[in-house]
């Protein structure tokens, strides 16, 4: 199968959908070259640096029959648009009694590792998970991002595509034929029976590396990639933990009230899963600090395969957990 980068797969998804449906248009403060060249400046719009306006305009255009895509680029830039996201996009279908639908795709790159400091290194998807009325995903492979993005573009709701900065140039196989991946379907990226690692995006790959390493000791790690954050495939996660009895959650974001906390809750509030749980759950997350610039500091903040391995060993020995890090 041909290989594309994560970023190429995403752009290909957009381009294919734009070819299919003339109602789709794209707004961004800096348009993507290939899209601009193929679809022209009317459908691929260079905008002022006004993410709040763009986010809201997408709502109005969607409510008027179009299917806008707004590329916030870095997730950090969407905080200026938060009112339009939380108070408008997330609620408007509901508070108007469902009388019309608002098909919108918002795109946002997340994550750190680029030494671009606190403002430009964020993974705040959990904040959006907390808001009722938004769907969102965060894929780990070119294959997944393409399939999910196509589904999202066809969805009749606002959907946020969180995309991992660290994975942008990472390659992977992408089928030639048209395909989609439903929202809300986790993917077991590696099967194992001793411990479940629920990981997101870049940390899926770190978890796989950790699994590989531990396999040499005979420790069998199951790596579950939720892919979609809302709706969350709780069942796949619970089934895995029922099998392994142990859970590590790996997330590039900080732990507090985050995705990792949600996974811990989803597992421990479920009777059947709780009954099988042999050790405390373990969150392997970023430290709960703004992300610093200097590489030595930044590296210390983020989790990686080594910390995942440490976390796995901890739950395997049922040892008492310490900090969230």
């Amino acid at each position: 199968m041909r290989e594309l980068t994560y970023n190429e797969a995403a752009v290909e998804a957009v381009a294919e959908e734009m070819r299919r449906d003339p109602k789709i248009f794209y707004m961004s403060t800096d348009p993507i070259g290939p899209l601009l060249r193929e679809f022209g400046a009317e459908r691929v719009r260079a905008t002022p640096i006004t993410e709040a306006a763009l986010t809201g305009m997408a709502i109005g255009a969607a409510g008027s029959g179009f299917r806008p895509i707004v590329d916030w680029r870095q997730v950090t830039f969407c905080f200026v648009a938060m009112d339009q996201i939380v108070n408008q996009a997330a609620k408007i279908h509901y508070m108007f009694g469902g009388q019309v639908s608002f098909p919108i795709l918002y795109r946002a790159a997340v994550g750190g590792g680029g030494q671009v400091a606190a403002q430009h290194s964020q993974s705040p998807y959990s904040m959006f998970m907390n808001v009722a009325g938004l769907r969102m995903f965060l894929p780990s492979t070119p294959h997944d991002i393409k399939g999910l993005m196509k589904t999202a573009i066809r969805d009749n709701n606002p959907v946020i595509s969180f995309e991992s900065s660290r994975l942008m140039t990472r390659k992977g196989p992408v089928p030639d034929e048209d395909y989609t991946i439903p929202l809300g379907q986790a993917d077991i990226k590696r099967e194992g029976s001793d411990v479940t690692v629920v990981a997101l995006a870049w940390l899926v790959h770190e978890a796989l590396a950790a699994a590989e390493e531990l396999a040499q000791e005979g420790i069998l790690v199951e790596v579950v990639d939720p892919r979609t954050l809302v709706p969350l495939d709780a069942q796949t996660i619970r089934t895995s933990v029922q099998k392994t009895g142990r859970l590590v959650i790996a997330d590039e974001a900080g732990p507090t009230a985050g995705f990792s906390a949600e996974i811990a809750a989803v597992v421990t509030e479920d009777g059947a899963t709780f009954a099988q749980l042999k050790a405390p759950v373990k969150r392997v997350c970023a430290l709960q600090v703004p992300i610093p610039y200097s590489p030595v500091l930044e590296n210390h903040v983020f989790p990686d395969r080594q910390r995942i391995i440490t976390g796995i060993r901890e739950v395997l020995h049922g040892r008492r957990s310490t900090a969230a890090a």
């Binding site: 248009f25 009317e42 905008t47 002022p48 006004t50 709040a52 306006a53 763009l54 986010t55 809201g56 305009m57 997408a58 709502i59 109005g60 255009a61 969607a62 409510g63 008027s64 029959g65 179009f66 806008p68 009112d83 339009q84 108070n87 408008q88 408007i92 279908h93 509901y94 508070m95 108007f96 009694g97 469902g98 009388q99 019309v100 639908s101 608002f102 098909p103 009722a132 009325g133 769907r135 009749n156 709701n157």
Partner: protein
């Protein structure tokens, strides 16, 4: 920035002028009833009345076609009625019933009717400006000559989205009207305390678009300004900022104990400039209206409002489980 002064009735058929009166009166009577019913505990939450400002919504919407789109504010009943919303479904929504525009999910602050191009009331100050600018972009892309109108208050004119959207609309020549309802207050805060200049319309100059100040209590002045702006928008020349100087008669909200720090003399002065009485007077002067006709209109309106209340009261509340419907579209 140009200033439209009080105008006499333009070349409008008498029927149209009477229809304007009827719509303004409908808004007023609807809200009188809504505020009574709110105090009676039949309507919940919060209700913001538009009474005193009816000429703005009706004047502007009279210049629009059905396919044109508008967006409203927290003070939304006037815009709904001006754009032709159904009183039954409006009242049912206020009553929190299943038959309401939003199936009881929205209430006063969120009535919408996309079918008639009414993109909703909105509880966030300036929250609708970007949304309706997107509708303006849609209209431009559709290429069928549609326009979109953003109603917003003097308070909203200081908020970021106002600026962002005026610039985008001006740059992209979107078919937009930005209609500032300058009622001189944002809740308790006088506009003079929060605006560097008394005319919001002065800001249009920064985007190279027309900025017009009109007497918002003179429906023909509003109508004419809107009409010019609609022509401009449909011709592809871009947006216009229209500032309507007007006044709200009632407190900011109908909530009991709600303070109203305005000078009662000021309120009285503005009541003496009642936009409805003024239009009535003009229609009478022209021989377009007499007591009998007016009484018939009033009777009609009261009948429609009574019917709306009856409809609302006869409608079931949603079932509790419907709270989980409509979070996502199919």
């Amino acid at each position: 920035m140009s200033l439209s002064t009080q105008s006499l009735s333009p070349n409008l058929p008498p029927d149209t002028q009477r229809e304007m009166l009827r719509r303004m009166l409908t808004i007023r009577r609807f809200e009188e009833r809504a505020s009574d019913d709110y105090r009676a505990g039949k309507i919940y939450g919060v209700v913001h009345c538009y009474i005193g400002e009816e000429a703005v919504a009706v004047g502007v919407c009279s210049a629009l076609d059905r396919g044109d789109r508008i967006i409203s504010t927290h003070r939304g009943h006037g815009h709904c009625i001006a754009k032709g919303a159904d009183l039954n479904r409006m009242m049912a929504e206020l009553y929190g019933r299943q038959t309401g525009y939003c199936k009881g999910k929205g209430g006063s602050m969120h009535i919408a009717d996309f079918g008639i191009g009414m993109l909703g009331a909105n509880g966030i100050v300036a929250g609708g400006i970007a949304i309706v600018t997107g509708a303006g972009l849609a209209a431009q892309m559709e290429g069928k000559g549609g326009v979109a109108v953003s109603f917003f208050g003097d308070g909203a004119s200081n908020a970021g989205p106002f600026h962002e959207c005026l610039n985008i609309a001006a740059t992209w020549k979107l078919p937009m009207l930005y209609v500032c309802e300058n009622n001189m207050y944002a809740a308790q805060t006088p506009a003079a305390a929060t605006h560097a200049l008394s005319d919001v319309a002065a800001r249009a100059a920064g985007y190279g678009i027309p900025g017009v100040v009109v007497d918002g209590n003179d429906i023909f002045a509003v109508y004419q300004a809107a009409n010019r702006a609609v022509d401009r928008a449909r011709s592809g020349d871009g947006p216009t900022l229209i500032e309507c100087k007007t006044y709200r008669w009632r407190a900011h909200t109908e909530r009991r104990g709600q303070p109203d720090l305005r000078d009662p003399a000021e309120v009285e002065m503005w009541k003496s400039r009642d936009p409805i009485a003024q239009l009535e007077h003009q229609l009478r002067e022209q021989g377009y209206l007499d007591d009998t006709e007016l009484q018939a209109v009033e009777r009609d309106i009261m009948g429609a409002i009574e019917a709306a209340v009856t409809f609302a009261e006869a409608s079931p509340f949603p079932s509790p489980e419907q709270a989980t419907d409509d979070v996502f579209a199919a």
